[in-house]
Amino acid sequence: MGETGCGKSVTAHSVMGLIPVPPGRIVGGTVTFGKHGNLLDLKEEEMQKLRGKEMSMIFQDPMSSLNPVFTAGFQVEEAIVTHDRHISKKDLLSRVVGLFKKVNISDPEKSVHSYPHMLSGGMKQRVMIAMGLSCGPKLIIADEPTTALDVSIQAQILTLLKKLQKEEGSSVLLISHDLGVIAAMAKNVAVMYAGSIVEYAPVSDLFQQPMHPYTKGLLGAIPRLDRDIERLAVIPGTLPNLFDLPEGCKFRERCSEALEICASVRPRLIEIEPGHEVACHACARDR
Amino acid sequence: MGSRDSRAMLVLRRIGRNPVALLGLIIIIVYIGVALFAPILAPHDPIDQNLSKSFAPLSAENPLGCDEFGRDILSRIIFGARTSLIIQVFSVLIALVTGVFLGAVGGYFGGWLDEGIMRVMDILLAFPGILLALAIVAVLGPDLKNLIIAIGIYSIPQFARITRGSVITVKQSEYVTAARAIGESHFVTIMRYVLPNAISPIIIQTTLRMATVLLTAAGLGFLGLGVQPPQPEWGTMLSTARMYLRSAPLVAVFPGVSIMIVVLGFNFLGDGLQDALNPRLKD
């Protein structure tokens, strides 16, 4: 979870090995993925085999992530054939229809022959999910999967993702700026700010007992549907310039709880309560 | 980019990083310089005949030799640049002003006005360009002024079309709706909100058009309908030299090469501008 420019999408793209090089470059760290070890050590061809099969991605904008000149069914077939060259034509079609059924696309036998422009936004996102599921991945990265959708359609897609996760047993890395979506979907939440995780906690802890001043600020800044708020809390200032990050804590200049040490030492994630990690000098001191 | 000036600087910087476009820009600067300072640069009077030097070979006195009347070819090329530049600037100016006006009005207001303007443009485009210019010159009579008018008129539709397309895209921007919401008149909306944002393709078209216009002028000159001798003009020079192609091929080569270099220069710059003005490019 995080706002524009916090690095949440870049993190996800890095995991998938989808950062364009150049200009991008991974300068350090590791991405450990099950038995495959550190993904950053793998060659591009090896990553290609993992992508789509072991890990897949669902993007924000279903309007532009499907190719308009091919049918929806064909694009899902392609995803399957890439990782299973020996599948027969008949099996392929029945598998795609099966996937379409699984993601609740209306009239799946007919919809496989539809072009993207004939489908609604919600249906396109279902096709993307079908494509993501096609090879039974262990990890699904969903990058703002419902941001472009209407409220009622968002609820459908979130429900679907939850149901599929239960059935398929995949892990989901859900990226969102919407605290409501996070609260409804996540088990654990990492809050990002200016390129780092500032708080990491089980979802109920995070919403009931936010610790980092930034998380607290965000929760105070959203209008609520369940009650009236006289005045929204405001996080003063703006995001620091990512080209020229301040020394010490990146949130210090906007923080009401900043200490002297915050100006010089960048706080590290520390487990303050079981399972609840925070990168904040003030929180660490209070415990 | 902080202001209008630095936007121009940004485009210039981008051109500077593109060797082909930079070459184009240098060619054009040299060409304009030659045209402006022709009387200083030219070693001889371009129309001064000296039959004793008819087809004189290349020499220190006549670096590019002489033509059939013994006129210095280098001087004629230099003064020819001046004639070409005049034709280019004025005919493109006619086409630019008229075309942008018609295209902007049609694109902005739409409806029957747009239909009417664009059908007239279609008719103009349906004639082969050179034939249209030919017809106009034939009616008005061949001289420099009429040549400019003819080429100007036949270039109008290109500007009208490009402007219209660009205006239609810009017209849908929220800031144009916002301009109407604060009570701006249509005229001010077009002049201050629409056109400044629709200008990039028009600039590119202007540059590329300079090349086409030069070719058309040379073509008409070649057909004897352009600038009349003895006034030096590259197309006309090429046309007369054609008769002596076997005996004195060099006489035809120099005006031909001049045309080619200048046309290439404008095309190089035009292509470079296309990239440099692309708003999606970031520095």
Binding site: E3, T4, S106, S120, G121, G122, M123, D150, V151, S152, I153, Q154, A155, Q156, L158, T159, K162, H177, D178, L179, G180, I182, A183, A184, M185, F207, Q208, L218, L219, G220, A221, I222, P223, R224, L225, D226, D228, I229, R231, L232, A233, V234, I235 | G2, S3, S173, E174, Y175, T177, A178, A179, R180, A181, I182, G183, E184, R192, Y193, P196, N197
Partner: protein
């Protein structure tokens, strides 16, 4: 008197067929009646295709209506001409959703805001620069930023500039068309607070158009819920959020993920099906294809628009059962 009164407003966008044949028009707005009181904020909430933004553009006379009436201070908006039109433009303003698209990229801020002062002769020419500076300060920017171009500002700052432009002429009402949808939550909070402060200080009315129910709750005095070009329900804010009547309103409220962990599962509250196309809306009640309380009459007859409680209007055949 109401600032703005809309009665039975209809807007169809024609779609020409390839060979002249008329296809079904897009029925963007199909019989909407609303009124906006002085100093009031009316929230219009709806999903895509509901026609909420079209209502905004129609209210300002920025696009022609198909039928119905729009009255500003009792006078029909689409009959304004010349001086009257200019005066109306002065009194009615708009802030758009995308602050990256709503400011002319080739004008500096002083001109963007200054043009409003100039057109409407708000202050003498010599005082325009000073007045622009004052307006910028009023929206939380610095006066010395006036000589910059829009691209030098962040999204939130640009939206402040757009607000300053709307304020410059001292309007009676401002249409806010999803003014915070393109912004981050923390920036949204700043803009919402600013809009509230400005209304308190200046007393203008807002029509706040949004798809975000929580934002609508935060800003509105009264709320109108739209679906496929029609009003489903309008009521004072307290009523619509604590005692919603229309099944669509109730389902919409339930399907918003809440920013706290609840025991209730989002699954049980989902509205089934896709939003039908506004070119071919369902017969009878437009919501009947997705409504879990649909009965026979809903498919045939359009429900009457009626007051079921004080100031609480609903268009649903079964509304009385749920009061």
């Amino acid at each position: 008197m109401h600032v703005l009164e809309i009665d039975n407003l209809v807007k169809h966008f024609p779609r020409g067929g390839l060979f002249g044949g008329e296809k079904n028009p897009v029925r963007a707005v199909d019989g909407v009646s609303l009124a906006l009181g002085r100093g009031e904020t009316l929230g219009i909430v709806g999903e895509s295709g509901s026609g909420k933004s079209t209502v905004g553009l129609l209210s300002l006379g920025l696009i022609p209506k198909t039928s119905g009436t729009i009255l500003f201070m009792g006078k029909p908006v689409d009959e304004f001409e010349g001086k009257e039109l200019i005066l109306f433009r002065r009194k009615a303003q708009i802030v758009f959703q995308n602050p990256f698209a709503s400011l002319n990229p080739r004008m500096i801020i002083r001109d963007i805001i200054g043009r409003v002062l100039e057109i409407h002769d708000i202050v003498p020419k010599s005082q325009i620069a000073g007045k622009v500076g004052a307006l910028l300060q009023e929206v939380g920017l610095r006066g010395d930023q006036a000589s910059r171009y829009p691209h030098e500002f962040s999204g939130g700052q640009r939206q402040r500039i757009a607000v300053a432009r709307a304020l410059a002429s001292g309007p009676e009402f401002i249409i806010l068309d999803e003014p915070t949808s393109a912004l981050d939550v923390s920036v949204q909070a700043q803009i919402l607070n600013l809009l509230g402060d400005l209304q308190q200080a200046r007393g203008h009315a807002y029509i706040f158009i949004s798809h975000n129910l929580a934002v609508i709750r935060h800003v509105s005095h009264r709320v109108a819920v739209m679906y496929l070009g029609k009003l489903m329900e309008t009521a004072p804010k307290e009523a619509i959020f604590s005692r919603p009547v229309h099944p669509y309103t109730r389902a919409l409220l339930a399907s918003v993920p809440k920013p706290f962990v609840t025991d209730e599962d989002i699954e049980s509250k989902v509205i089934a099906g896709d939003i039908p196309s506004p070119t071919n809306p369902p017969s009878g009640c437009r919501f009947h294809t997705r409504c879990s309380f649909c009965i026979g009459v809903c498919e045939e007859a359009e429900p009457a628009w009626r007051e079921v409680a004080p100031k609480h209007f609903v268009a649903c055949h079964r509304a009385e059962e749920w009061i």
